[in-house]
Structures are given as C-alpha cells and as structure tokens.
Symmetry: C2
C-alpha cells in the first residue's frame, strides 16, 4: 500500500528507513503489521503483513452526545473521549449553550483530533464526530442512555450492561433546561451520579467515560 | 468577618450589594451562609449565619500522587482532580519524567488553581498540593493504593472499599520504570484496568477519579 501525505510526514519525523516495521490501520477496525519498503520524495511503499485483531474496542459502541462548549474545551473532550474508547461523538445544540453552532473548519479540526488520538491510544478505529443536532432531535431509542445528574443515587457501574449500545449525554456550562431534562427522562435516559460535587461541562463526560473504562472494557 | 483582597475582587465582579446573601468557606470543611453588610474601598464586612454541613467530601481522603508533567498538563489535572474530590495532590519525581522538578512559583500557581476549582465545584475543602518527592520515597502504608495498569484485569470498582484512605498513583508520559513498578507492587499498590487502550498521562488520573466519583462518593 501507499500512504497519504499526512502519514508520510509522520514517517519522516520518525526517521523510519526501509526495512523498519510499523503497524497501520484503516480507521474502521482493520489493523496490520507492515514493513517499510521505500520512502522517498514520491511517497512511501509498505508491504502489508498479517492482519492483527486490535480488540481495543468496547463490546458495544459508546456514543458521547456532548453540548457545544466554548474555546478549546470540545477539542479536549474529543481527544480524551477517543482515548477512553468512544465510537462516536455527537455534538449537541442546547438551550443554555453559549455556542450556538460550529463552523465546518472547527468540525474538520475535531475530526483530525479524533484521528490523531486514535493513533496515540493504539485504537484501530477512529470515532466519528457528527455535526451538531438540537438535543430535542437526538434519537434515544434502541440504546442505554445515561446523563450525569447531581441528585441521582443511581450508579453507572450498576446500571450498565453490554446488551445494547451506550449513549452518554453531557450538557453545556449552563446545564440543561427543564424541558431538555424532561425530554431526556421521557426518552428513557437514566440520570446517574458523579458524586456530590459540581463538575465543569468538560470534566463530566470524561468522568462518565473513565467510569466505563475502569469496568475493564 | 472581613474578606481577603482576592475574594473582595470577586464580590465586585459579581456586583454584590449590601443585603445580598452568599456562602463562604474556610478551606478546611467549614461552610456558612452569610449576608453582605458593607462593601467599599476599605473592604467587605459579612455577617455570618448558620454553619452548613457541606458533605461534598469522600468517606476517606483520596490522594492523587501524580508524576510531574509538561506544560499546562499539571494544571489541568489539579483542576479536574479537585472537582472530582481529591483531598491531596502529591507531586512525584519519576525516572522517565521529562520534567525534573517544578519551581516555587509553579507550585503556588497549582495551589491557586486547587482553591479556585474547590470554589467552582462547591467544595468547602481545598486540596493540598504537595511539593514533589521521588516516587521511591512515597509512603504506601496504611492506605489502599492503586495504579492504572494496562495488563490488569482487576477493577477499581470491585477493589475499592472505604475502610482506609485511598492513594491513586499516576505516571509520567514515559511510564514508570521497571524498578518503580516493582517498588509500587512490593508496597502493596494494586494495578487496576482502565481498559485496553493507551491513555495519556493527563487522562489516566482523571479516568481513575471519574470511576471513583461514579461510585457515588
């Protein structure tokens, strides 16, 4: 196989030479050993070896639906969520979000961050990052949906099973509106505790994902 | 009571006026309702009301012992760890850390971040941030010690009980040396899983703390 320009730069930075071994993946779960055959101005040629079963994915896909956040916070969330195993990040427009929408460039940047974080965490799958939808249009059916809720006594570790895909819903700095909470509850989304402290909007989703990761999946 | 200059600025930013109610805490677990009596050039005078039991602390103190990290990563870790309920952050010097030590100014800055994050997460306790010690001098006895370990099948949620204080040990970008791992193991530190993916040094401690927070404490 030949490599795209981005990855070519990466090989040069790593100062790889013909004969060096590396591992490649296609972003959809396929992973293989490879040997660098040639690296020059024109490109890189790799000889693919045996396919490797990465097995770094969760038993069912985990989607993080997260409200638009200010500044670089979304980048930080996408990066850490990718390391922690999400299959998909669905951006959300919510009532009290300070950021009404994001542009195409920012979305492309978030996708690049997800690809980079996949590589660094040795995942063979790159999570999708989906353009924002209004929270009230988020489909909740056919999956186990959870939202962090300060008042709840329900524990994620006790409610989570892997018979269905998992959806984690995470709000903006200003929290969800009463109508949004009502819609989530009506859709079967379970409020779970993250302890009695107030978490920032960028910390809560990582705490939920950390709790799932600590269950060994 | 009167307020220190920092908090005075805060009241001005919030545009509080005499008669407004607020909540104050002393950083050691005491919290009280208060009414602003006077706010002028000279300072602020508060009338203290009833003491409030904050009850936002974990059943036993949780210490995060974390290796020195590059750039702003330590700040991010201290901020999120404070929200997630740590009682103490013990900085560590480790074999493969890129940062050999931190200066007094940086330590003061980390303590300020802990104080600020306590306030924002509505905790009445400010975690201590302790100057770096070599990992091999970290006392492990008299507590339950855990370290994230990629190969482990042990789950934090199954091992954690609250009969003893908790110590979480977290390494640098380059990981722990074999000698460091051996010392931790010999000291009774239990390796627990955070799933089959590779986490960055700044993500792993938050995943561990997120897992504890999701247990409802």
């Amino acid at each position: 196989m030949t490599l795209p320009p981005d990855e070519l730069r990466h090989l040069r930075v790593l100062r790889l030479r013909p004969g060096d071994r590396l591992r490649v993946f296609d972003g959809r779960g396929q992973e293989a050993e490879a040997v660098l055959e040639r690296l020059d101005e024109g490109g890189a040629l790799l000889r693919l070896g045996e396919a490797v079963q990465g097995n770094r994915e969760t038993p069912q896909p985990v989607t993080l639906a997260v409200a638009l956040l200010k500044g670089d916070k979304l980048s930080d969330v996408v990066r850490a969520a990718t390391e922690l195993g999400v299959a998909r990040v669905q951006l959300l427009q919510t009532r009290f979000s300070d950021v009404p929408d994001i542009g195409e460039q920012k979305l492309i940047r978030l996708r690049r961050i997800a690809a980079e974080a996949s590589k660094q965490s040795r995942r063979a799958v790159v999570p999708e990052v989906l353009a924002p939808v209004p929270l009230l249009q988020l489909p909740l059916g056919g999956q186990q949906a959870f939202v962090a809720h300060p008042g709840s006594a329900e524990r994620l570790s006790e409610r989570l099973d892997w018979s269905l895909p998992v959806l984690l819903v995470s709000g903006p700095e200003g929290g969800f509106s009463d109508a949004e909470v009502a819609a989530l509850t009506a859709g079967g989304c379970v409020g779970v505790t993250l302890g009695p402290r107030i978490l920032r909007a960028e910390t809560a989703p990582l705490a939920l994902l950390g709790a799932i990761a600590a269950l060994g999946v």
